[in-house]
Symmetry: D2
Subunit: 291 residues, 4 copies
């Protein structure tokens, strides 16, 4: 297929490589030039503007947040490069509001719009094993499924509304955040009785919660290894805020998310913005006077 790809960060770059390996032709654009050389060497065509990348049968975007999407698609007019009948697959984690706005703008141009945020980090992307949460018009979803089959191990369909897959992704991230906070609180409680955090977390992640998300964040807490961050606390705050905004728009109280936002702000106020969000354990410890 003739593809465009915008956003060649730690996730985007290995995804492009997988698409090239699968025989697709990919025109790529990135804000900074750094990642281009390796991809061009692998067969990608670098273009000078997002709008040029958008001239494709399917355009995939993998950008950081709402602001980046707005900058590229609205300010830098990538959206004008999309031809009627083409499809834009937005794999970034964005807000419900932006998903709705983008879907309407694309529809007005006769362009398909698919939301397809993913679960999985860099190594999973490189292995083509992402879990892809997808929503959009059924026909559009069907046309891009072969691409999803290259990029991921499984596609989870969440219906026709552009925002649905975004909400599923934000809900999933909320559950990760809650898992971190629960581990932080429970282990701080344990340390209040002379139990080492390491002992408690080893027990709980070997028994009830023997799954990478708990094991990985638990280990970061035990080692106090918060930098470099796998996922920055400031980004965690952004995602929890997006979940709360989605909750407000649908009139869903989310008391755990509210606690998380306050605790993440506590972390921000104490210089933890660039630490991994596993450092919620530092907030918990600090409040208990043990740091």
């Amino acid at each position: 297929m003739e593809l465009g790809f915008i956003g060649l960060g730690t996730m985007g770059a290995p995804m492009v490589l997988n698409l090239l390996k699968a025989g697709h032709r990919v025109r790529v654009w990135n804000r900074s030039a750094a990642p281009l050389q390796a991809l061009v060497a692998a067969g990608a065509e670098a273009v000078d503007s997002p709008a040029l990348a958008a001239r494709a049968e399917v355009l995939i975007s993998m950008l950081g947040d709402d602001t980046a999407i707005r900058a590229v698609f609205l300010d830098a007019a990538a959206i004008d490069g999309l031809a009627p009948g083409s499809i834009h697959v937005n794999m970034s984690t964005v807000s419900v509001a932006l998903a709705r706005e983008m879907a309407a703008l694309h529809q007005a141009r006769g362009v398909g719009y698919v939301s397809a945020p993913v679960l999985g980090r860099v190594d999973v992307a490189a292995a083509g094993n992402l879990n892809i949460l997808a929503s959009g018009a059924a026909e559009a979803l069907a046309r891009v499924q072969p691409l999803f089959d290259v990029l991921g191990r499984k596609t989870w369909p969440f219906g026709a509304d552009a925002e649905s897959a975004c909400v599923a992704k934000l809900s999933a991230n909320l559950m990760i955040a809650a898992a971190i906070e629960a581990t932080a609180e429970a282990s701080t409680l344990a340390t209040g009785y002379g139990i080492s955090r390491a002992d408690f977390i080893e027990m709980i992640t070997s028994t009830l919660f023997a799954v990478p998300v708990y094991q990985g964040y638990g280990k970061l807490m035990v080692d106090k290894q918060f930098e470099p961050a796998g996922f920055k606390l400031s980004l965690g705050l952004k995602d929890v805020r997006l979940a709360l905004e989605a909750g407000e728009a649908a009139q869903v109280p989310l008391p755990f998310a509210s606690v998380l936002k306050d605790n993440l702000l506590d972390g921000m106020a104490h210089g933890q913005a660039d630490q991994d969000w596993a450092s919620l354990s530092e907030v918990s410890d600090r409040r208990a006077g043990s740091r």
Copy 2:
């Protein structure tokens, strides 16, 4: 070994069978006579009072809560049956305050006291695969380790203080409660955008949270199969309260636990006391107006 065993409920009865199979002699007592026949048939000796059961090298108790422990050991004086040099292994989930009180009372009588609450439900107990969280004097722990090897797959030592293992257990239960609430909130948010709870929970428990605790409670939420309860909401409230009391005594703020207590009370106030605590999803749905 000459053992006594008090508390032959759904957990205690299969534990006694395992001890008998391993060649131990077990004198048993229970408040109601129902479970006795099967155990006597398997070789146990039924006795008429808790104090008679307590006349053993090691007494194991597996009772429901602080009230039951107080009723049997203080009101019904089981503690007077314990001979100096013997050991009482309390495998019930009790409060920090009770653990401390019991440890002192036993020490005054020259009796060892070991806290050993467990992770695992009936089928795990029957298979001898419990995870046993243990604390108490090192010598006492060493003496009862052969019994733990019969009852469980692994023993997790948490030091010399009787209350430590109780805190570890309460912390573990707090994490289970938080996992339920997080699943409830996230899936209620998803349903607010037209995603079925079943679809969201299938995705999340097949990917990030592919572990029985999420899968089991998630399925109960999807099926709205809250009775008969695997673990009653009223008991969940009790355990969260005990965690909060432990937090207060050690000056550890626990904001997730506070949210849980309020939501569990909301459930109690709406007739959910005897439902499985997975019905926290009903509280979440109700607050969002979707029930």
Copy 3:
């Protein structure tokens, strides 16, 4: 002084009357024509566009929210009517973000910008007894002080930044919301023990909290007189959200505000959007199963 006034709602109209009585000349504009006749009869000049109203020495705006301000000043270009050297006094309750944006836009045009939200409802406005929270450049504040002396009993200065007075107002509204929720929770607790809400609220608002804000909202709770609303629950939610946004931008955790947002959402989800926000007591009652 030559004044313009935009926004002739329940607050704006009596404020214009007071300015006229004090001898000022006032050009007025409103989205709907209904309030114009009475004001013209009192000496105001009705104009056809917000930009015409803005051609004045001082323009006062009193609109409902950020959206209304944007519609009038940016979309309908009222801002273009403001001449260099003039001053715009925005007495609406708006977000920190909007205050900053407006201040920058005005400064670029050489126009002064003063934030001046008020405490007090219609009758207080009519009596010229508002409390005015003001921030902006010192010179601009000095120039408009004679107008504040007409409209209010006291001006509370909060410095040179346009957003400061907005934050003070949002903080004040947060305290009102918290007073309502505290009264709701405490009285629901009392009713749980057979005390009538009326008896408890009479006692508390005759003793410790003998002040109109508690007495007024307390009476609404007792009488369940939530419509017509003095201040709609949906507007309360908006103001609490703005306080939370201000908190997030300044990295200030606000756990009471977080609880309020969840409870106001609970109210929204149960059809209380147009009820007075005193109906937080209904949320409290409902959660306790007593409604």
Copy 4:
């Protein structure tokens, strides 16, 4: 009347003086002897045991908490001094559970039991201007009303159940705690935007919240004058806990109280136990990184 009075602390001593001035005969007992001399000089009769003080037509107790009541009435057997037909008026702030237990114990002895906690501090007690929250059997209430008329400016009746007046008092204290926390959060938010806490609190306590409870605690926050404490943070935590226990027993979720408990624990963990509970502002500041 022949009275007994147990508990001659800062509140009890001036209350006894008022009773003496009104012509009553008062036998007094206190754990420590310090306050006795002045009261004896004023006409009181000091006795050697709580049971001797209890031999009266009406016994009034004014003690610190449940523990003190239990120590004096159960351990030191003051209850045995109460003759059938006499009345015990407990003016201490105690738990619902203790009120119920005491009422039953008194009833079994044919002794009346009245709960009568008060609103007001030392100076109010000295002036005989307390607000008295009272519950108990109607006949008993009627008999002791002349004493209440000496001690207070008004009696607020809350029915026949001993615990009702306790719940009313705990609910009132919960509202005070919430007022402190709301002032703390709102003023911390204001300081995040360069507004001084003094300016914000002067404004808010001169306008919407012009009432001593806000003015007094607000001033303590501004002056950071937390010691000596008017009401210790550790006692505030106790009262909030009692409110939460009352809420749990009646299945009433109290999310503000839950936040308060966590924040008070945060204060305890940072050495604020003996500070005035107005120092909740320190918790708020600390979480925002501004301390």
